[in-house]
Symmetry: C2
Subunit: 377 residues, 2 copies
DNA sequence: GGCGATTTGATAGACGTCTCTCAAAAAAAG
DNA sequence: CTTTTTTTGAGAGACGTCTATCAAATCGCC
């Protein structure tokens, strides 16, 4: 009984009106008498009509044109973000979404504005960018918005800018989670937590630090917090500032690094003398170096913002705004804690998917390819 | 420059062949000379042609008919799973996916088989069920498969059954993660871990226990593991078995409960005398009770399998198999660790979405509704 | 060159929705 | 009542793909 789902024509017949009237109702074209609207609505409810999005998209033949602007450079996290975006491109094209991926120098507000100008001239529907706290950027975002272009901030928000939405984790919550984890790991004993940030002027770094401080002081009064190391996300600076600290004093029991430049931290940790206890170490974002360190047992946990989820949400949100409808309800992105054991497998393109075991066909279904992989544990 | 994306007609023109030939190539109809195939492939590459899935779906006018069979009863996790499925129904209908949600008594293999029989007669394309270790179920799954119906196991696999795929977490990894977390929380001190399971015959419970044991014995030799409590997922049994243990001996420093019946555990924990230190407690799955306990500080962490992701992956996988194509690459589902701080907000239908701040329109865009919510912090 | 087999081209209808236009009907205003 | 305005109906064409049919062209082979 392959019962066909109801179409708008079915609704029209059921409501006793013409297709045109139904169309006027469902597409808000106006000029319909109240009683007709009610009859149509009732018919829709009765039949359980649901719009066929494939047909709707096809008829409009709209190609969404979006752009993502991601900082270039050596930052592994942003390289990863870019890789995820590239991988999504083809998939998106199938849904008639044309995604341009652009790179600019990190934290260069003027370059960002210039790029946005060029983009807006080529005609795009929406853009996602990594927000910075910068007046000219905020102003440019306002310009784009009033030109009808959707603007999202990704990973880091742009304070005071009238962006449509911010897609990213709550960095204060991330910091609180780190604080909780560090507190738990002390098992009731005292200790001293050393925070490392890139710059306090970066909103996300400041918020993470603040969140950690909040939780530790409130819940773990036996812990105190050492003066913050400012590493500018550069591994040499981090290393140079850390070496003397670990050499001269042995009271650091935990390290929380909120940003980049962790290569320096890891070098220091790996070179600690055998006698000296390694502190509890919590980092952010699963990048190759951090992954390796976790696998080696040099660090204890990574707090990740799941960039692939961020991107999926960002695109879904861009599309909703471009369509002028409510965004789909997506689950909020929460900072996620990874240990050595539940570290996700590397590489988004990996064919090995532990949480997803697939069998081959038992017998039939000769034509066309079917799945023939077996990946048990 | 709203450059239209290339269509199959464009490909035909570019390749210098007719539409019919291109169609024969892209849809594997055969009867095409090798040189033509090559020219078409080249044209597709050159133009960057990507099939318009909206058009493809529309032309086929196929309604996928899937079913999900979820155990009924008081188990909060399965109630949650069902709620997520219900919420997805409408969204799925828009994509012409007709999802039936069925309930059966938990762990009743015969009832399951009966239901599967009825379902297969009504004509469905695929079914997702919670696997059990049961021969008649395995046989029924084989029957369905050879009748051309896709079968997925969800949450718990069905050993020896020729299901198309298992969608769920690796329960051994979940147990290892729990072990790591418990180990870390002891901060190097010794202790004694008390495991609680529903039944050792349940594959997921056994695997979680085994994973925890593995990690604790390998990495935290100062911890030992107390005899396992078998609670049959029933809170009275759990409570009755736990009370004397906590009354008579005060050496339990951690509790790991792999399954249900946690209401009993929580009652015991809440009634511990003030003098007695509360052990580290790790549970599975964010259900209302567990959430509340985490918020109250009665337990320390919850390991979650993110049922909403499992369902999304299951549906995507069912669809892929029904289409006889490779499943989309989805990220594997990994057990996720939640503390009080990064606990996701309750209710899937909540309009408050912390990780997703949305602004109203600054000025224009009069027609139709737009988003007007501001949910900061 | 003639035969059969293989390969190609041309074309048409279907899917459900959107967007139009134009005329007809009904309702409200004078 | 007529006139104006509002509301409704009927229908056509487009979107890109799938599926089909039938005739025409090309090929291999003797």
């Amino acid at each position: 009984m392959q019962s066909r789902l109801p179409t708008l024509s079915d609704v029209a017949r059921c409501a006793g009106v013409s297709y045109a009237t139904v169309d006027r109702v469902v597409n808000d074209r106006g000029g319909v008498a109240e009683k007709s609207v009610i009859r149509v609505r009732k018919a829709i409810d009765e039949l359980g009509y649901v719009r066929n999005v494939a047909a709707a998209n096809l008829s409009q033949n709209k190609t969404y044109r979006f752009a993502a602007i991601i900082p270039t450079g050596t930052n592994q996290f942003f390289q990863q973000l870019r890789a995820i975006l590239e991988a999504e491109r083809i998939r998106l094209l199938a849904d008639r979404i044309d995604l341009r991926i652009e790179g600019i120098a990190a934290f260069d507000g003027e370059a960002l504005c210039e790029r946005l100008d060029i983009l807006s001239q080529t005609g795009i529907d929406g853009v996602a960018l990594v927000g910075t706290d910068d007046d000219i950027v905020a102003q440019k975002i306002a310009e784009l918005r009033s030109a009808g272009i959707a603007v999202l901030t990704l990973v880091s928000d742009a304070p005071n800018a009238p962006r449509d939405a911010y897609i990213g984790i709550d960095n204060r919550v991330a910091g609180q989670t780190a604080g909780r984890l560090i507190g738990l790991c002390h098992g009731g004993a005292g200790g001293r937590v050393l925070p490392i940030v890139g710059a306090l002027s970066a909103p996300d770094h400041a918020e993470r630090l603040e969140g950690m401080r909040e939780t530790v002081t409130a819940l773990y009064p036996d812990l105190d917090i050492a003066p913050v190391i400012i590493g500018r996300d550069e591994h040499e600076i981090v290393e140079n500032k850390l070496r003397p600290i670990f050499k001269n004093s042995h009271d650091i029991t935990a390290v929380y690094s909120v940003g980049g430049g962790n290569a320096g931290l890891l070098r220091v940790l790996r070179s600690l003398p055998d006698g000296q206890n390694r502190p509890i170490v919590v980092l952010h974002d699963i990048v190759p170096q951090a992954r390796e360190a976790l696998e080696d047992g040099v660090i204890d946990a990574i707090i990740d913002q799941r960039p692939e989820v961020e991107i999926a949400n960002a695109l879904s949100c861009l599309r909703s705004i471009a369509d002028r409808r409510m965004p789909d309800v997506t689950d909020p992105i929460l900072p996620t804690v990874y240990f050595k054991e539940n570290l996700p497998p590397p590489g988004r393109d990996s064919s090995v998917r532990p949480g997803h075991t697939v069998n081959g066909t038992a017998s039939g279904h000769a034509s066309k390819s079917r799945i023939l992989k077996e990946i048990d544990q």
